[in-house]
Symmetry: C2
Subunit: 147 residues, 2 copies
DNA sequence: GTAGCTGCAAAGAATTTGCAGTTCT
DNA sequence: AGAACTGCAAATTCTTTGCAGCTAC
């Protein structure tokens, strides 16, 4: 549970308070280890008997992002998606536009090129969104079948 | 105005109707030649004396996307952003998190790698989001100055 | 004790939908 | 004529805010 410790340290540095609700949120997040929508997180918390209100979760996530525990993602569509950033190598997403399946991939070459592009324009790179949209093998089969 | 022609053809194939409002939307879009938010488009239309309701614009944009005239983008933050896809080489974005400046870049190597990744997982690639977030040179200077 | 949290309910913002009237084909 | 489109207003959905009471420090 070093994530919780990390978050506590972050809060102290910022002179913010360490509260049971915040810790519960961090635990729920790291337990999820994957992508999640805010609503799913709220449901997870309910399941654990923690009654954190949606408002509080909305107010907490930016803190977790700032603390480096989660990162925002896209996963096409609406709403804010996030995903755990710890114990999780950096990766990007391949999303099926038919069934919304998400496949993670990791490709060192992208990182290198990104740094190169940023350098070319003098930007100091802090993060990125990278998502490939397509049709997964299963859905391709389904489509072929329909015709 | 070949974009308008292209859109008409698209509508006919789909047995949808060619209407003045739709044509006005296409014209406004190609005139913009850049990123835009739906609201800006509505404002542009008002400026041209076309009184398209927001609802109609919301209903039309997916059609323009399907016709390949515009593509959705992110340009961090909320709301749906789009950008013209014609007369415009394919490119991605470098966004400054401080001042929201957007720099477009084009890097063939990314496209190649993306196709490679998609192939590896059997996906048929249809589009992608790729946005690098960082701090632009000007804002870096400003920050250094503040300290 | 007090600044900072929390939950609740209300407010906002962005997008979608239902419907009645209008228009393309 | 008839299916499709349009604008309007209402409905949804997602997120933020105001506030009164509670809690960590």
């Amino acid at each position: 549970m070093q994530s919780v410790e990390k978050f506590r340290a972050f809060l102290r540095v910022k002179s913010l308070r360490v509260t049971p609700v915040r810790e519960a949120i961090v635990k729920a997040v790291v337990t999820r280890k994957g992508h999640f929508h805010i609503d799913e997180l709220v449901r997870d918390l309910r399941g654990k008997g923690v009654d954190a209100s949606r408002a509080t979760v909305y107010r907490s996530l930016p803190l977790l992002v700032e603390a480096g525990l989660v990162q925002p993602t896209i996963v096409s569509g609406n709403g804010h998606y996030y995903e755990t950033a710890v114990g999780h190598e950096h990766h990007d997403h391949l999303v099926c536009s038919e069934c919304d399946k998400v496949v993670e991939f990791q490709f060192e070459a992208f990182e290198i090129l990104q740094r190169e592009v940023a350098a070319k324009y003098g930007f100091e790179l802090t993060s990125h969104f990278h998502e490939l949209i397509g049709v997964c093998p299963e859905c391709q089969g389904r489509q072929a079948h329909e015709n």
